[in-house]
Amino acid sequence: MTGHLSGPPFPEAARKALADTQLRRNLGRATSTIRAKRAAAVEELPDWAALREAGAAIKDDVLANLDRYLVQLEQQVTVRGGTVHWARDADEANRIVTRLVRRTGETSVVKVKSMATHEIGLNEALARAGIAAYETDLAELIVQLGHDAPSHILVPAIHRNRAEIREIFLREMRDVDPSLTDEPAALADAARRYLRHQFLSASVAVSGANFAVAETGTLAVVESEGNGRMCLSLPRTLITVMGIEKLVPTWRDLEVFLQLLPRSSTGERMNPYTSMWAGAVEGQEFHLVLLDNGRTATLSDPRGRSALRCIRCSACLNVCPVYERTGGHAYGSVYPGPIGAVLSPQLTGVEHNTSLPFASSLCGACYDVCPVAIDIPSMLVHLRAKAVEAKGRTPERAAMAAAAWTMADSTRWSRALRAARLGRLLRGRRALPPPLSAWVRSRDLPQPPRQTFRDWWAGQ
């Protein structure tokens, strides 16, 4: 499968990540800071609950009428001089973008941070065609120079600290000042000098989009650094790759999301740069690639489709106790954390991503902070059932069926309890079979009682 939506089984990948103590320290610090900022930014809005409800309702309307809104968007973009391309999957999207870049005769592009292009593995596809892609978002630049993969939706280099970033810059940037310190201002300055050269020499840009307004054909990119705006406005050709679910029906709807998004993601009242454009602007050619890549299939599942409400704020990552300890790479997908655990398996088909729905303790912190009220825990449970179905007959399934048969009837259940008590007396604690062996690696088992509760009650 092309792109970055699945990896090795989560428990294995997580074990590796957990062994990296530097990673755990970096993540713990970063997520707790951003959690507190988000909480404060949300706290100060008295109508947050209503905003959240509105966000969910607008997205549900989009999903219910996606066919109509997409055609409307295409018309509006076309009328304003842009060209709309439809991509069924990652390969088709990569082919379209490669063809468009080739037509310009250029061999390099600059990129503004885009999850969709990571999802489809665009950089690799371009490289195969001899086209170099330069990431211009600071964190993406760090990831790219470090020959690394993003580990967070919003803060792709969250797994790196200042000292590591300094090392990467010293190693990878040409003409960097060898006395570079790990002061944030010094690092930003080095990146600025490096990127300025890219901006001024690039004539093709590839971007993602946070929102597209069906009514006006307007695209919106929300960012903090201004590098995105340079990307969007300087090159002569702009190619935007966007998932088909990123629509909002009307211009007014942006009002809701431009409040929900920055407060949920960076904990800011407003993000520093919001760039909007409709169609081609003077002196620039504009192409919009609308990407399906599993979204229509996701839409067809009534219990899973609300994952498509996601506006990629990453609030759920920042509160997730699993993400906080494993980081994003363990999920094997560009979409990590709780939303990744429900989105990635749906985009690939659950059968290709059976471990991700189980990568959660179902603590529910993600649902609480989601600005579009995606009930991630319930969706995980639903996807677990699909994963179980996909795996067919397994020993676990047989054990679960046996347990259910026993527990569906109190006579069988009480007989089983008596048998288990006898068994425990005979069995030593260390030689336990799976799955109990996984339990006792770090936890003692409780002392079995002499009498069950039901036997005590029977004697009352």
């Binding site: 989560f10 428990p11 997580a14 957990l18 755990r24 106790p321 699993v322 300890r325 494993t326 729905p357 189980f358 990568a359 959660s360 303790s361 179902l362 603590c363 529910g364 912190a365 649902y367 609480d368 319930s378 449970v381 677990r384 059932a385 699909k386 994963a387 179980v388 676990e396 399934r397 679960m400 069926a401 347990a403 259910a404 048969w405 527990m407 569906a408 009837d409 109190s410 259940w413 309890l417 288990a420 799955p435 996984a438 339990w439 690696r441 770090s442 936890r443 003692d444 088992l445 409780p446 079995p448 009682p449 009498q451 069950t452 509760f453 039901r454 005590w456 009650w457 029977a458 009352q460």
Partner: protein, 240 residues
């Protein structure tokens, strides 16, 4: 009021004292509780592990057992949440309209212990005595699915002799998560390590919670490390 106790399968098999305490506490408060012997398990483990079909007969057994009671008291936030948020949904998935109706009725009459005490009986002082330094872990499903809020703390503050100390990062998950604790044992253990560090930092003698499952996990870790800190269910403290 016809009050039944649903002990939960875990309490029945491994933590009978939690069930006994629940019965004693409610009796002390003047209620003649019943423990219908037909009860077994709410089926949460099956549903949450991806086996809703297997859970269906468990849901049916539960609903049939508790249909006629005016109140069902459960010493578990997690099982209460399963009854309230999953049972009717499981029945609906398999098109059993009668069961949906029954499940919704039972769900309306089902209360987690602290909810029943504070909301239905209107008591916070249950006349308990527990002279120990205690820290309270609000389990995720009590906190976020039932929204029990400060009910358990209000009950604990009225216990004579009890010194209640705040648990740092109290609302973060202990890492149990049902079969998550086995399927993702390493991540579960990493979460447990932080929870235990929080508990130990309070210098409490006892970690209390409203779910025996989370306590089995936290207590299993605390015991493995020979910390000397005990885990005790809310019902046991309130009944003492």
């Amino acid at each position: 009021m016809r009050v039944a106790v649903f002990a939960t399968c875990l309490v029945d098999a491994l933590f009978p004292d939690v069930g006994k305490s629940t019965v004693r506490l409610l009796r002390r408060l003047g209620h003649n509780v019943e423990v219908p012997s037909q009860q077994t398990c709410c089926g949460q483990m099956h549903v949450n592990t991806g086996y809703p079909r297997e859970a269906l007969p468990l849901v049916r057994n539960h609903v049939e057992t508790f249909l006629d009671y005016e109140a069902v008291v459960v010493p578990s936030g997690s099982c209460t949440a399963a009854i309230r948020h999953q049972h009717a949904d499981v029945a609906r998935q398999y098109g059993d309209a009668v069961l949906v109706e029954g499940a919704e009725l039972v769900a309306r009459h089902t209360y987690e212990l602290s909810e029943f005490l504070v909301d239905v009986l209107g008591v916070t002082d249950v006349g308990a005595y527990f002279p120990h330094r205690v820290t309270y872990h609000p389990t995720c499903h009590s906190l976020r699915l039932l929204r029990v809020g400060d009910r358990p703390s209000r009950l604990l503050r009225q216990v004579r002799g009890l010194d209640l100390v705040d648990l740092p990062d109290a609302d973060s998950c202990c890492g149990f998560g049902g079969t998550f604790s086995i399927k993702n044992a390493d991540v579960s253990t990493a979460m447990l390590a932080d929870k235990m560090a929080g508990v130990l930092s309070t210098r409490a003698e006892v970690c209390v919670a409203g779910d025996s499952s989370c306590l089995m996990h936290i207590g299993g870790g605390l015991s493995r490390l020979n910390t000397g800190v005990r885990t005790v269910h809310l019902a046991e403290i309130l009944a003492s």
